[in-house]
C-alpha cells in the first residue's frame, strides 16, 4: 500500500470513510440478529476500499449507479447515515419513507441514482446519466458500480457498447467478490479477469487490488479524469471479497468448496485493518489519532442507531402515495 505518498488528511479521510462503513454495517447485522430489521440486507463488509477509493476521486455533482450491495456507495458519498439506518428498519424518515429498504436506498442529493434490486439493471441507467452529461455539456462523470455476476447480464454488453460508441463520460467499476450468491464466477465465465472484456468495446480494462484503497483511488482517478476530458469509458475490475454471505443470514458455506481457507485468506487482507497498519508504520496517523477518529464515528453510529430505532413507522396511507406525481 502506497501510503507514504499520501497526506495525513487524505489518509484520515480514507480511514474515516471505511471505518464508518464497517461500523454502520456491523450495526445493521446486529439489527438482523436481534430481529429488528424487516427483510434482509446485502452487506458490503470487506469491499470498503472500492467505494472509498472511487468516490474520493469524484466531485460533488457526479452521479453514481449503485447495486443491491449499496450501503458502502452511499456512505462514501456522504449520505445521511441516520436516514439510511431508518430506511433499513422501514421507518418514516428513511430515505424512501420506508418504501424501499436496504436494497433501494436512493440519495439523489448525493448523486446516487438508486441502489437496485435487479442485477445489472443499473448499468444502462448510469450510462444514461453519462449521456445526459454529454448532452448538457458539463464536466460531470457517472460511475456504475456492479458485481462480477452482473457482467454476465445483457445490460452490461449493451451499455458498454453504447458508452464506447458514443464516448460517454462513465466509469464502470466491477466489484468482483467471486460469488453470485453461491455461483463461483470461475465456473460460469471463461476469463480470469472480467476486465479483459473491455477489449471487446475498444476501451481500457484495468484490474486492481480491491482491498487497497490507494490503488483503487489512483486507478479510478485516472479513469475519471479521462472520462471528464471526453475520452470515454473505462472498465475497472476490483478483486475483492465479502465477509458475509450474499445477504445477512446466508452462512455462505459454498465458499469452502475449492479452498477451505478461502475466507480466512481474504480476511487477512482486510482493507480497513491494512490501511490502519500501513498508516501506523509510516507514522502518518498516531494511535491516539486513530482512537479519536474511531470514537467520533462511534458516536455518529450510535446516534444513527438510536434515531432509527426511535423513528416511527410510516402511516399506512403512505402506501398509496408516490405512485404518480
Amino acid at each position: 500500500m502506497k501510503v507514504k505518498e499520501y497526506s495525513k488528511k487524505q489518509l484520515t479521510e480514507f480511514y474515516e470513510t471505511m471505518y464508518r462503513m464497517r461500523r454502520f454495517e456491523e450495526e445493521v447485522f446486529e439489527f438482523y440478529k436481534q430481529g429488528l430489521m424487516p427483510g434482509l440486507a446485502h452487506l458490503y463488509m470487506g469491499e470498503e476500499a472500492i467505494a472509498t477509493g472511487v468516490c474520493a476521486a469524484l466531485k460533488n455533482d457526479d452521479y453514481i449507479g449503485s447495486t443491491h450491495r449499496g450501503h458502502g456507495h452511499l456512505v462514501a458519498r456522504g449520505a445521511d447515515i441516520k436516514r439510511m439506518m431508518a430506511e433499513i428498519l422501514g421507518k418514516k424518515d428513511g430515505y424512501s419513507k420506508g418504501k424501499g429498504g436496504s436494497m433501494h436506498i436512493m440519495a439523489l442529493d448525493k448523486g446516487i441514482l438508486g441502489a437496485n434490486g435487479i442485477v445489472g439493471a443499473e448499468i444502462p441507467i448510469a450510462t444514461g446519466a453519462a449521456f445526459s452529461i454529454k448532452y448538457r455539456g458539463t464536466d460531470q462523470v457517472a460511475i456504475s458500480f456492479f458485481g462480477e455476476a452482473a457482467s454476465n447480464q445483457g445490460t452490461f454488453h449493451e451499455s458498454l457498447n453504447m458508452a464506447s460508441a458514443w464516448k460517454l463520460p462513465v466509469v464502470y467499476i466491477i466489484e468482483n467478490n467471486l460469488y453470485g450468491i453461491s455461483v463461483d464466477i470461475r465456473d460460469v465465465a471463461n476469463v480470469v479477469d472480467i476486465a479483459d472484456r473491455a477489449s471487446a468495446y475498444g476501451i481500457p480494462g484495468v484490474v486492481v487490488n480491491g482491498m487497497d484503497v490507494t490503488e483503487v483511488y489512483e486507478t479510478a482517478k485516472k479513469a475519471i479524469d479521462r472520462a471528464r476530458e471526453g475520452e470515454g469509458p473505462t472498465l475497472i475490475e476490483c478483486k475483492t471479497y465479502r465477509w458475509q454471505g450474499h445477504h445477512v443470514g446466508d452462512p455462505a458455506t459454498y465458499r469452502a468448496r475449492k479452498d477451505v481457507d478461502e475466507k480466512e485468506k481474504w480476511m487477512k487482507k482486510c482493507p480497513v485493518k491494512c490501511l490502519k497498519e500501513a498508516a501506523a508504520i509510516y507514522k502518518k496517523i498516531s494511535k491516539k489519532e486513530f482512537d479519536q477518529i474511531e470514537a467520533k464515528i462511534e458516536e455518529e453510529i450510535q446516534e444513527a442507531v438510536q434515531f432509527a430505532k426511535e423513528n416511527p413507522y410510516p402511516d399506512v396511507q403512505e402506501s398509496y402515495t408516490d405512485v404518480f406525481e
Binding site: K97, L113, A129, Y135, M162, F324
Partner: protein, 323 residues
C-alpha cells in the same frame, strides 16, 4: 383545418415539443437518418442534430435504461420501440425500473420519459410484430398508458405525454400511420384521464381504444341506418381511467360493449368491465360485450389473421347481439 397522416401528426407533436423544450430528446432504432421505421420522425434529425435524435443499436433494454438515466438527470427522453412486442425485450427497465423509481425512492426522484410504440395486427407481420401490449403494461402501477385514436388525438395526447413528469407508454396504431385525417391547425395538449365522447347515442355505449374508436364510429354509422343509436366513447388513456364518463354513459344507455385490441384474457376490456361493474349493475339491460383479440398468437396468413382482428363487422355484430 389541414390534412395530415397519423404518422405526420406524431412527427408534428415531436417537433413542436422539441422546439419548445431543449430537454426533449428522441432515441430509438432508425429514428434519425431513416426518420423512423413508420416515418414518424422525418426531418427531425436534420433539424435537431445527432445528440437530440439518436439512432441506437438494437439494444432495447439498454437504450430504454439509458433513457431512464437521462430522465433522472434532467432530460425528457422519448424512446421509440419499433413494435410494442419489443416492450418485452425492455421489460425489466420499463416495469421494474421506470415504473417504480418514484415509489422506491419515496418521491425523491421521478422519471419523465415517454415510450412510443406501435400496436395492432393487419400487416401479416405474424406473432411477434402484431401484438397490442396495452393490457400488460396497464397491470403495473407507476406507468401511464395512452391509447390515442385519430391524428388530432395523437398529436394532443403525445404533447401531454412529453410534458408529463411520470413514465408514459404511448401506443400508436400501425394500421393508422398512413391514413389521412383532418386536424386543426393548432392542437393543444389533451389532459390524461378524461375520455372523449366521440359520438352521442342513447341505445348502447361502446367504449373503445386506439383505432377501434374509428371502427366503432363506422359501425355506429351503419347501425344508425337501422335505427340503433350508439354512443362511442374514446377512452384516450387506460391509466388514468375515466370511470365517471363510462359509468354515466352506461347509466343512460343500459348497455355496454368494450372494444380493445389486446388479447381477451386479462385484457383491457375485462378490466374496464370489472372496474365499473359495481356501479352499473342495476342499470344494465344486457350482459357486457367484449371485442378483443382471441387468445391465440397472431397468425401470418391474411386468411387467418383478418377474421380474428377486432373489426367494424365484429363490433357491429356484437352490438346487434346485445340490442
Amino acid at each position: 383545418m389541414k390534412t395530415l397522416t397519423y404518422a405526420q401528426a406524431v412527427c408534428e407533436a415531436l417537433d413542436e415539443e422539441m422546439a419548445k423544450d431543449d430537454k426533449v430528446v428522441l432515441l430509438g432504432e432508425d429514428v434519425a437518418f431513416l426518420g423512423g421505421n413508420f416515418k414518424t420522425s422525418v426531418g427531425l434529425y436534420e433539424k435537431y442534430g445527432d445528440l437530440r435524435v439518436k439512432d441506437t443499436p438494437i439494444s432495447e433494454a439498454g437504450f430504454t435504461g439509458l433513457a431512464i438515466g437521462m430522465a433522472l438527470t434532467g432530460l425528457r427522453p422519448v424512446v421509440e420501440l419499433m413494435f410494442s412486442d419489443f416492450l418485452l425485450v425492455a421489460a425489466d427497465q420499463v416495469i421494474n425500473q421506470a415504473a417504480k423509481i418514484r415509489y422506491m425512492s419515496g418521491g425523491q426522484a421521478n422519471v419523465p420519459m415517454v415510450i412510443r410504440t406501435p400496436i395492432g395486427a393487419g400487416r401479416s407481420s405474424a406473432a411477434q410484430h402484431s401484438q397490442s401490449m396495452q393490457a400488460m403494461v396497464s397491470h403495473f402501477p407507476g406507468l401511464k398508458v395512452v391509447v390515442p385514436s385519430n391524428a388530432a388525438e395523437v398529436k394532443g395526447l403525445l404533447k401531454t405525454a412529453i410534458r408529463d413528469n411520470d413514465p408514459v407508454i404511448f401506443f400508436e396504431h400501425k394500421m393508422e400511420y398512413n391514413k389521412k385525417f383532418e386536424i386543426p391547425d393548432i392542437v393543444e395538449p389533451i389532459p390524461f384521464g378524461k375520455a372523449r365522447i366521440a359520438r352521442e347515442g342513447k341505445d348502447i355505449t361502446i367504449v373503445a381504444t386506439s383505432s377501434l374508436v374509428m371502427k366503432s364510429e363506422e359501425a355506429a354509422e351503419k347501425l344508425e341506418k337501422e335505427g340503433i343509436s350508439v354512443e362511442v366513447i374514446d377512452l384516450r388513456t387506460i391509466v388514468p381511467f375515466d370511470k365517471e364518463t363510462v359509468i354515466n354513459s352506461v347509466k343512460k344507455t343500459g348497455k355496454l360493449v368494450i372494444a380493445d385490441e389486446s388479447y381477451e384474457r386479462c385484457g383491457v376490456a375485462a378490466e374496464i368491465a370489472a372496474e365499473i361493474f359495481d356501479e352499473v349493475f342495476y342499470y344494465l339491460d344486457a350482459p357486457i360485450g367484449r371485442v378483443s383479440t382471441p387468445n391465440v398468437p397472431l397468425p401470418f396468413s391474411p386468411a387467418l389473421e383478418f377474421p380474428i382482428i377486432p373489426s367494424v363487422d365484429r363490433i357491429y355484430n356484437k352490438i346487434k347481439e346485445l340490442i
